[in-house]
């Protein structure tokens, strides 16, 4: 069973094969037709007004930015967690300072009202 790094390629191939097989099978088994009403985007029967490709509210992007910040923090925590037992209490003090800085960042964002959804 052991395939090493090749297992990534194998799993990508498996995913694509699965998708291709089911898509082809369904293409063979199903009928298809189209007309102007059917091709419209579904908006509960009312004729759609305008496209959906518009500028979107900024709130979502702020959360994406915050995520980027804290995700980097989590990524830094993984290698630290592996070597913690060798570093003993020095490791604890280091990470305490690191986390405190990040936590102050979170508090700052909180205080600024970034986390409020309105």
């Amino acid at each position: 069973m052991e395939l090493g790094a090749g297992s990534i390629l194998m799993l990508i191939a498996a995913g694509f094969t699965f998708a291709a097989a089911t898509l082809i099978l369904s293409k063979l088994l199903s009928k298809s037709s189209t007309n102007a009403q059917k091709a419209e985007p579904y908006e509960c029967g009312i004729p759609p007004s305008g496209k959906a490709w518009v500028q979107f509210r900024i709130g979502y992007y702020i959360f994406a930015l915050l995520f980027l910040l804290f995700d980097v923090e989590v990524v830094f925590l993984f290698p630290w967690a592996v070597v913690l037992k060798d570093m003993r209490f020095a490791g604890f003090v280091d990470i305490f300072i690191f986390m405190a800085i990040m936590f102050i960042g979170l508090l700052y964002a909180w205080k600024k009202g970034v986390l409020k959804w309105n």
Binding site: S30, V74, L77, F89, M99
Partner: protein, 354 residues
């Protein structure tokens, strides 16, 4: 001369290294595809039966013995339905989105140990790999929602993106707490460290807290019901897959169940010891009796237990609003898991765990 031919074939097939590799890869692909198909069929059946039991109904019971062939019939129905692409959509992205979602779900199988020695890749950074790969699915969800050119799809995809991305942090932080205790990101090493008891019993209350946070955050990660804002039927029709039909819709749904299996398998491996039987410290006789039950049964049993908890959530809690959802993550789960991680660090350094 002719009777020796099969023997020659046999020798060729068993001694040629390239051919063996090709056979191995092909067999693995077949195994993965059948695993995905069986998971889809079984988990959807289980979900419907669990839902029925919780609502005092019977659930599917017409097709096959106690309804076991119901999902098979549903799959056949979906296969014969037309996979329609709306007229003004981005056709290529629309086609690609479900493929990306299902592939990212399948990719996470690589480092998961199904039984002792049954693992595709004994990866040193397995705990890091799974969330990294599983979060590729957010790209597929955003692509599908954007490409549909439908307002419901777009709102659903955006909500889902914000949600998956936010809860990623809590998932990561609760995984780190187990890495702190074991000092390794390798799944096999983590399982071996639970030889005298599972971490959920050995690690005191902080590990239980991190397990609870992991369960909540990963339920949100896979967009399941208390957190299924991206497909809130009452407001968004079906969220990011409003425009999908036929087998492409089935692929989105299947990816959800495969993701649920992966999340539960990771939880079972980190907190309940994966294929490691229930061992209690130095109770030699007890441990020896437990060893008679094969590892794969332990693994599947624990995974199904976690899956059952996630299904239980669905029929217990009402759906959250988007602001409540983001509040829960950023104002509660994140600070709690940061503090909890410090507690786990202290426990590890003082050697207070068993």
């Amino acid at each position: 001369m002719l009777h020796i031919l099969p023997l020659l074939f046999f020798q060729y097939f068993t001694t040629n290294p390239e051919l063996i590799l090709v056979l191995k890869v092909v067999l693995s692909i077949v195994a993965v595809i059948s695993l995905v198909a069986v998971l889809g069929l079984f988990l959807i059946y289980m979900e419907r039966k669990v839902a029925a039991a919780m609502q005092l109904r019977l659930g599917p019971n017409r097709v096959g013995y106690i309804g076991t062939l119901q999902t098979m019939a549903d799959t056949l129905k979906l296969l014969t339905k037309e996979g329609f692409t709306p007229g003004e959509s981005d056709k290529f992205m629309f086609f690609l989105a479900p493929v990306i979602v299902i592939t990212s779900a399948v990719l996470a199988f690589a480092p998961i140990p199904f039984a002792k020695g049954y693992q595709f890749w004994n990866l040193e950074i397995g705990v890091f790999y799974v969330p990294a790969v599983a979060s590729i699915s957010v790209i597929g969800v955003l692509m599908g929602g954007w490409a549909s050119n439908n307002k419901y799809s777009l709102i659903g995809a955006m909500r889902s993106g914000a949600q998956i991305v936010s809860y990623e942090l809590s998932v990561g932080l609760s995984l780190v707490s187990i890495v702190v205790l074991t000092g390794s990101m390798n799944f096999t090493t983590i399982i071996m460290s639970q030889e005298n008891g599972w971490w959920i019993f050995k690690g005191h209350i902080p590990v239980v807290i991190s397990f609870v946070i992991f369960l909540i955050a990963s339920t949100a990660e896979i967009n399941r019901t208390p957190f299924d804002l991206s497909e809130a039927e009452s407001e968004l029709t079906a969220g990011f897959h409003t425009e999908y039909s036929g087998i492409q819709l089935a692929m989105f749904l299947l990816a959800e169940y495969v993701n649920m299996f992966v999340i539960s398998a990771v939880a079972a491996t980190l907190y309940f010891g994966g294929w490691m039987p229930l061992h209690i410290g130095h109770w030699e006789a007890f441990n020896h009796i437990m060893n008679f039950i094969p590892g794969v049964i332990w693994f599947v049993g624990k995974t199904l237990f976690v899956i059952f908890i996630i299904m239980w959530f669905r029929w217990t809690f009402p759906r959250l609003r988007i602001d409540q959802l983001l509040n829960l993550e950023w104002k509660y789960l994140m600070p709690i898991s940061l503090v909890n991680l410090l507690l786990v660090t202290i426990i590890t350094l003082m050697g207070w765990h068993f």
